[in-house]
Point group: C2
Chain length 223, copies 2
DNA sequence: GACTTTAGTCGCAAAAAGTGACTAATTCGC
DNA sequence: GCGAATTAGTCACTTTTTGCGACTAAAGTC
């Protein structure tokens, strides 16, 4: 029970699987294997000869049946914060899952980010880092597209950005910026939602474009 | 020699200490403790009960006498790439060092980034990730300021940004953006460099400002 | 058929960014 | 001492980008 490294494995790989449920982000949790009362992020002990990436893919597969569409390492977490495995450090990943494919295997449950059950201190820190990673990568990688199904309406895309950014966006500006970025292409399908004009479906299909010719950005507020 | 975890420690902490030397970035290397022919990043085996952050600070202290002014975790590296320690994974950090304070202890040498000696595959990957981390954080954290001495001229600051971005910037635009960001404050000192008009010295001193009221950015070119 | 709801577009005004030319203060060569 | 060279710092103009309100379009509802 003291801070003694486990004999079986030097570290764990923990995965924050994120999806969009309705108007909120949600992550996948499971009952802890050691403490059955407590919820925990899906994790596995490192296997010899397995890369970090494949380890995280397997954790996701065990939980969902498929590897996530997109995953990225968040970092290593130790700092004396306890972990279900009592192992010294954990390497954490975020994985993005479109909600269509998000039917978890028995024992796993989606929890809205705003209302998580108690987690171990280390896993709590991992979840917080995951949201920061997502926020900061949002303009550098197609996060929002990975949380949507393969085809989507522009309103759905905008709502996803609004959810991730935590603020409203102006429709015309959003579409103009999107057009300038050459990221989507229209399909010839339209979706009729019941009320209102039908919306055209688009797919993510980034085109070559010249890198914008910008100067510096001082976008940080504090050190 | 096979992929067998070391008995003594489950992982290492490796640090990429970056400074600006003249017109180039440079990193600190040392002769490997196992292989004396090969250069290596400074590293140490993890100690029980030590946080990742303090471990990286100690690695830097051993090399420079002081901890770096600013450090950030890059991530965990494993992936079957060999490391001097033959340990399974390494947790890597970048540390920024203003060149004034950059006199290394015997056994350590600054190497320009463009002309590094052969490193182990894993440490090579760590250095590449460090440059990507620096580039991507450049507009989100005061990287450039951390590589300069406490007071500096605006031309020096601009040159540092040009070095980090790898492109020239227009003087007037750079200064206008800097002014809008409320990041520096003038001192009452001036530096006379020999030829040309003396330049006023500034210090990094970020002021409160309202978060810019911007929409979305689609700044990625490819998935 | 009028009203509501959602999709999609237009065009103006304001803000931000690119750029060349200008002024200022110093050293160097003569 | 004086003009050329060099570096700092600013200005004013143009172009680009962005915010935003108002508009048209196509469906359902009553």
């Amino acid at each position: 029970m003291r801070e003694r490294p486990s004999r079986t494995s030097p570290y764990t790989v923990d995965v924050v699987l994120v999806t969009a449920m309705g108007n909120e982000l949600a992550i996948l949790l499971t009952r802890g294997s050691t403490d059955r009362e407590r919820w925990a992020l899906p994790w596995r002990a490192a296997q010899v000869g397995e890369t970090l990436g494949t380890a995280s893919a397997r954790v996701a597969e065990d939980a969902l049946g498929d590897p996530p569409i997109w995953a990225e390492q968040i970092g290593a977490f130790g700092d004396a914060k306890r972990h279900p495995s009592e192992v010294e450090i954990s390497v954490a990943f975020v994985g993005l899952v479109p909600h269509r494919t998000a039917s978890p295997i028995t024992g796993y449950t989606w929890f809205p980010m705003r209302d998580l059950p108690p987690l171990s201190p280390r896993q709590r820190a991992i979840v917080e880092a995951a949201t920061r990673t997502i926020q900061s990568r949002l303009d550098q990688a197609p996060i929002a597209f990975r949380l949507l199904p393969p085809t989507f309406t522009l309103s759905e895309l905008q709502q996803m950005y609004e959810l991730l950014l935590g603020k409203r966006l102006h429709k015309a500006s959003f579409r103009r910026a999107l057009q300038g970025a050459w990221l989507v292409e229209p399909t010839d399908e339209w979706r009729n939602e019941g009320r209102g004009r039908p919306a055209q479906l688009y797919r993510y299909s980034p085109k070559k474009r010249r890198r914008p010719h910008r100067g510096v950005r001082f976008d940080f507020l504090y050190p």
